[in-house]
């Protein structure tokens, strides 16, 4: 009984935050001299106005689900992975490499590329986990550093080993593609692709892994209390490393989906895409729950993508939507007080019921 209430709260709190954030955004637009009704209407149109927009929104949401899952997974096991950005890059790179240079039947090829990307990113993130487990180096620092290292080395590798025409890798073979003719036609040519389905499946996997398996039991226990976990016979170091590996794998799958599903190649990049940082926001809006992450990504991705329509049509700056999103996160943080009061009331009720 108390579990369902806590689930209800976990759902309610972000919803209230979203409503408050959107109201705040309306006030902001008014202050700026724009019509908020029109603004939000344009955002709405920019998402749902056509199959194409809807499809592209989903395409924009897809990497955010992966990144959000990666961050949330680490958070759930007591780690702060700021390195999703870099792990995503590694995933893109590995997928591009497999996609362009292996020769496998369709489907299998794509699968292999995704797997290799996941493994590469997993190992890459696992290095940060290893440093933490073995040497006690704070994962926040190492993952920040590894972001830059990933960016520079990916550029180097593309330039020197994978170069295609232009500033990018060669094209992946069609057999490795994650594009879906079915989804394309359904969404009027939008680039929504199998990556979205992979993301949703991974959300389910993460949920199952964390809460339904013995491994998840260990991973979360180690995050909550490493001393008790050690006492209970769990291998704390191994679990820390594993947690980073899995988090990195989720990010890597996102990178692979991006390369194989949207572009079919990887660009040399002059800077970060920000996917990793947006993933932190998505995870937090989704209260670090895999299903919350999906909703958070839909919200974040939808608002950002829809906001472009607002700029296109009325010239309303997209920054206003960044501000709305930030206020939503802020309210998620602030509404912790609502949550704690609700939770406390519940506990007391239970003690009394005894």
């Amino acid at each position: 009984m108390n579990n369902s209430t806590s689930r209800w709260n976990a759902f309610l709190v972000p919803v209230i935050a979203v409503v408050l954030g959107i109201l705040f955004g309306a006030v902001l637009m008014l202050l700026m001299g724009y019509d908020p009704i029109l603004g939000y209407n344009l955002i709405f149109q920019g998402i749902f106005g056509s199959e194409y927009f809807l499809g592209e929104t989903l395409r924009a949401v897809t990497p955010l689900i992966f990144a959000g899952l990666a961050v949330a997974f680490a958070f759930r096991t007591g780690l702060f992975n700021i390195g999703v950005e870099g792990q995503f890059i590694i995933g893109q790179l590995a997928a591009a490499w497999v996609g362009m240079s292996w020769d496998l039947p369709p489907g299998l090829h794509a699968l292999a590329a995704v797997m290799v990307a996941m493994i590469s990113s997993g190992l890459y993130a696992g290095f940060a986990g290893w440093l933490k487990a073995r040497l006690g180096v704070h994962e926040v620092i190492t993952t920040i550093m590894l972001n830059y290292i990933a960016l520079f080395s990916a550029n180097y590798i593309i330039r020197n080993f994978l170069k295609g025409q232009g500033e990018r890798t060669a094209d992946i073979l069609p057999s490795a593609s994650l594009t879906s003719e079915f989804l394309r036609t359904m969404f009027d040519g939008a680039r929504v692709n199998w990556g979205l389905i992979i993301a949703l499946i991974l959300a389910l996997v993460v949920w199952f892994l964390l809460w339904k398996t013995t491994r998840g039991y260990e991973l979360r226990a180690v995050g909550f209390n490493p001393h008790a976990s050690e006492y209970a016979g769990m291998n704390v170091k191994q679990n820390i490393i594993l947690s980073m590996v899995i988090s990195g794998m989720l990010a890597g799958a996102g990178g692979a989906a991006d390369t194989l599903g949207v572009y079919g190649y990887m660009n040399i990049s002059a800077g970060f895409t920000g996917i990793g940082f947006d993933g932190i926001a998505v995870a937090l809006i989704g209260t670090n729950h895999p299903f919350g992450v999906i909703l958070g990504a839909l919200l974040f991705g939808g608002l950002s993508f829809g906001a472009d329509n607002m700029q296109r049509v009325e010239g309303i700056p997209t920054e206003s939507i960044r501000i709305v999103i930030s206020m939503i996160i802020y309210f998620v943080a602030a509404s912790a007080i609502v949550q704690s009061v609700l939770g406390y009331l519940r506990r007391r009720r239970e003690v009394q019921a005894k």
């Binding site: 040497l135 926001a281 960044r322 802020y330």
Partner: protein, 322 residues
């Protein structure tokens, strides 16, 4: 000549590159020593960088205040703006007992949104401020700067660089020698203990977070009106997170933060010299550009070892709770 010249530029490059990091990491030390995790450093720097640029332009170019004074007004304004912005973090973390990471992430997004939005408003839709005409220039301490090697290396940097180093000393004194510092650290280690001896936990944490905002604001100003001379979306890009790393690397200690910031600066300057010296013929430039990040990981793995955060860091304090 080269060797000496190289050292000179590496030293002064180190100091200059480190300057914004020192301020900001120092800010992080105050906040986290009081028990409030501050992921918002990046956003605070953005606000500081933006405010400093705007105020310096306004006072120096539009109001005609003396070019020597205008950038200092910019720094002051950046500090105040950082403090005000930090209030949002303080309010969420302390009064609302919010998850401090969440609040910090929110403020990073907010800062970026607000600053860019304001730039567009203030500069006729432009994506960056105009060039700050009266930005800080390097400043040679007479006498000291003419010492060979050391002089041009260490004593030809921005006034803000000296300020940063002085502030490290002051922060150390404040944190480790004064009642204020003792209370601030107590609140970050064991707020209930501080509370029971009459230390106002809420007030201490508010002050710490506000100080942190002020310092990060100054750190931001160093980027926009000393090292470069404008504000745009990329002025801060990642320095706040590097400062966060420097704070942790420096074990939440002012001199540690200084050391870590200098280390980053040094490694960056080293990578740059590698390129300038033509090492790119043997080593890819990407590797040289990645050098500071690689060296940091090596240093952390090899030398520095485990660092303990303040015990109550990140934990909201509620009177009477256990």
């Amino acid at each position: 000549m080269s060797m000496i010249d190289m050292l000179i530029t590496i030293f002064s490059g180190t100091l200059i590159y480190a300057t914004p990091l020192i301020f900001t990491a120092l800010g992080g030390v105050f906040s986290e020593r009081s028990g409030v995790v501050n992921i918002a450093l990046e956003g605070l720097m953005v606000i500081g960088a933006f405010t400093a640029a705007v105020v310096t332009i306004w006072t120096g170019e539009r109001m005609g205040i003396s070019p020597a004074l205008a950038p200092w007004l910019g720094v002051l304004a950046a500090m105040v703006a950082g403090m005000l912005f930090a209030l949002l973090h303080a309010f969420a973390s302390i009064d609302l007992r919010a998850d401090q990471v969440v609040s910090g992430v929110a403020l990073n997004f907010l800062a970026a949104g607000v600053a860019m939005f304001m730039v567009k408003k203030l500069f006729e839709g432009a994506g960056q401020t105009t060039t700050v005409q009266h930005a800080f220039s390097k400043f040679a301490i007479p006498g000291l700067s003419s010492i060979p090697l050391i002089g041009p290396g260490f004593f030809n940097v921005y006034a803000l660089t000296y300020l940063a180093i002085i502030l490290v000393a002051i922060s150390w004194y404040v944190l480790y020698k004064t009642p204020f510092g003792l209370r601030l650290r107590a609140v970050g280690e064991h707020p209930a203990a501080a509370d029971t001896v009459g230390v106002n936990v809420r007030r201490m944490r508010y002050m710490a977070v506000i100080i942190s905002g002020g310092l990060a604001g100054i750190g931001g100003s160093a980027l926009s009106i000393a090292i470069s001379s404008s504000f745009q979306h990329a002025t801060v890009s990642g320095h706040g997170f590097m400062a966060l790393a420097a704070m942790i690397f420096g074990k939440w200690h002012p001199s540690g933060a200084l050391g870590a910031a200098l280390f980053f600066g040094f490694a960056t300057a080293l990578g740059v010299s590698g390129q300038v010296l033509g090492l790119t013929a043997y080593v890819p430039s990407e590797l040289l550009n990645a050098l500071p990040y690689l060296l940091t990981i090596l240093a952390l793995a090899g030398v520095v070892g485990r660092a303990e955060a303040p015990a109550a860091n990140g934990k909201p304090y509620q009177k009477g709770s256990r």
